[in-house]
């Protein structure tokens, strides 16, 4: 019994070291924390009314009154960025979690039920794979009107089958390992094997899929808003702010577009970095 702590401690330390990661991970973590905080609190702490024109002169440069300057009709850019934060960060998060969970359910079901479900799943995957996510999202807008709800559902549908297939393959590989056979020989039930051994083994794949899914969903939804099919004025999210500020770039006022674009990039990059890191961490500790 006395050996147990000495075995456990180094592995815990190692886990903590890998979880903490290098400077890149720390920067990404800090950036993401700031973005999440602004999405949660942003609309409350915005210094000005985001829809109120002429709280300053048009195209004021950054100053103490207006940290990110003002837009073409004198609205405060920082306030608009903060007000748009929940609408920019939350939908991709919901899409990523939704697609990953549903994909996992379908994938595990297919692996459990075997061939017949497998066959149908591959057919569905083939068809959905043939429709690019952005096309499906625009199609959804044509059907149900502008806004981010319909495109979000479309993106869940278009990314679900890939996750399902990946989970199915990963589950199959795991189930073909000798230890599963050994457990079955010992009389361990199927449900127990799946719950206690397969589920943890799928965790890294799910984590990786969720973060990749978030990055793609964020870019696709920002693209939908950029195209003018998402959030409608006077409301704004970061995608529509990029489009909104574009005309001003040629007049020499790139501030609004650049600020919104920087936030999209920062969010996608930090989630990707943290996701890659978390995946390696989960791979290292799942055994």
């Amino acid at each position: 019994m006395s050996a147990a702590p000495s075995v456990a401690r180094p592995s815990l330390q190692r886990a903590w070291r890998t979880a903490r990661g290098g400077p890149g991970v720390i920067v990404a973590g800090a950036a993401l924390a700031a973005i999440v905080a602004s999405a949660a609190l942003g609309p409350l702490v915005a210094p000005y009314d985001p829809h109120q024109p002429f709280v300053g002169q048009p195209f004021e440069p950054a100053s103490f009154e207006h940290w990110l300057g003002t837009d073409a009709i004198g609205r405060d850019v920082l306030s608009r960025i903060l007000a748009g934060a929940p609408g920019s960060v939350l939908p991709p998060f919901v899409v990523a979690v939704g697609a990953t969970l549903l994909g996992a359910i379908v994938g595990v079901t297919a692996a459990w039920c075997g061939r017949a479900v497998d066959w149908w799943l591959s057919r569905v995957v083939d068809v959905i794979f043939a429709v690019p996510g952005l096309v499906l999202a625009v199609l959804a807008v044509a059907m149900f009107g502008k806004g981010l709800v319909a495109p979000s559902i479309a993106l869940v549908i278009s990314s679900l089958p890939l996750t399902a297939r990946l989970i199915r393959v990963t589950a199959r590989v795991e189930l073909s390992k000798p230890y599963v056979e050994a457990l079955h020989v010992q009389g361990t039930g199927r449900l127990a094997v799946w719950g206690r051994h397969l589920a943890p083994a799928l965790a890294p794949t799910l984590l990786a899929q969720a973060t990749i899914g978030f990055a793609y969903a964020m870019l696709d939804l920002a693209a939908i808003s950029y195209l003018g099919l998402g959030v409608q004025p006077p409301s704004a999210d970061w995608g529509s702010m990029i489009a909104d500020g574009q005309a001003a770039i040629l007049q020499g006022h790139p501030g609004q577009s650049l600020a919104a674009a920087t936030l999209v990039l920062a969010t996608v990059l930090s989630v990707s970095v943290l996701g890659a890191h978390a995946t390696t961490w989960a791979e290292g500790t799942d055994t």
Binding site: V127, P132, L139, V141, A142, L227, L269
Partner: protein, 312 residues
Amino acid sequence: MLRRVLAQLGGLLSTLVIASAVIFGALVLTPGDPVSAIIGGVQPTPELIAQVRADHHLDAPVWERYLQWVGGILSGDLGQSMVYKTSISALLAPRIAVTATLVAYAATIVALVGIGSGILASRGGPWDQAVLVSTTVGLAMPTFVVAILLVWVFARLLGWFPVLGVGDGGWDTLRHLTLPAVSLAIIYIAYVSRITRGSLVAQQTREHVETARVRGIPSARIFRAHVLRNASPQILAVSGTTFASMFATAAIAEQAFGLGGVGALFTEAASRKDIPVVQVIALLMVSIFVAANALVDIIAALIDPRSDRTHA
């Protein structure tokens, strides 16, 4: 080989049939009355409504309308736009030329820079690091972000490129399409570069390559005959998928640079609920995607005869 091509074509056709049924079916389920969309602002009289319903075959069962729609497309009749009141083929023809040029331009850039930088990175050393860092950033750079950066730097600050329209043909068009093509290409360059590097590195460490190196065969020849050739099916597959999805993403570059392409029409039609146009363009994009992937598979089989045997 022939069997493989036939199998490919079969798969292609069945996917297209299902996809077209889904695209058509989905838009039949669209909330809202198509008649009011067609009539527009005019006060509808019962006779007008009946007329419109008859013109657009709205009273026939769904499957019959689907068959009519597919039959029309196969015989070259794409139907009428509800918003423009003209034939969709007339709307599409000039726009397809714009989008095809844009995508061809961007695809050339992706092939040259993406595969080139992937090869460079596979040699290791500082280049590998440089490519790794720039592709990490590149993978997070969507078309609309690159577009505003390019507009700001190259159009506003430096004034090197025009930013609106497609120019008046030839050299001028090429100049007008440079910024849109680059903005479309960046994220795909990063992707193709990563895959190229990965598959080349995987090949370089294989036994027969080591053996060839030990035997003193010139490294340029090893690279060409053993590394690049074995890695090429994978590189090709990724490039093909990339090329196909560019047709969809082109909508964003077209929007950013005011180009009247297929994607811009698609966006506009979706926002104005011009359902017949949306249906045709969605089907067009799906067809291009499916056809490009099938073509890539066939070319891959030509390069690597083994993949023929294992799949057939």
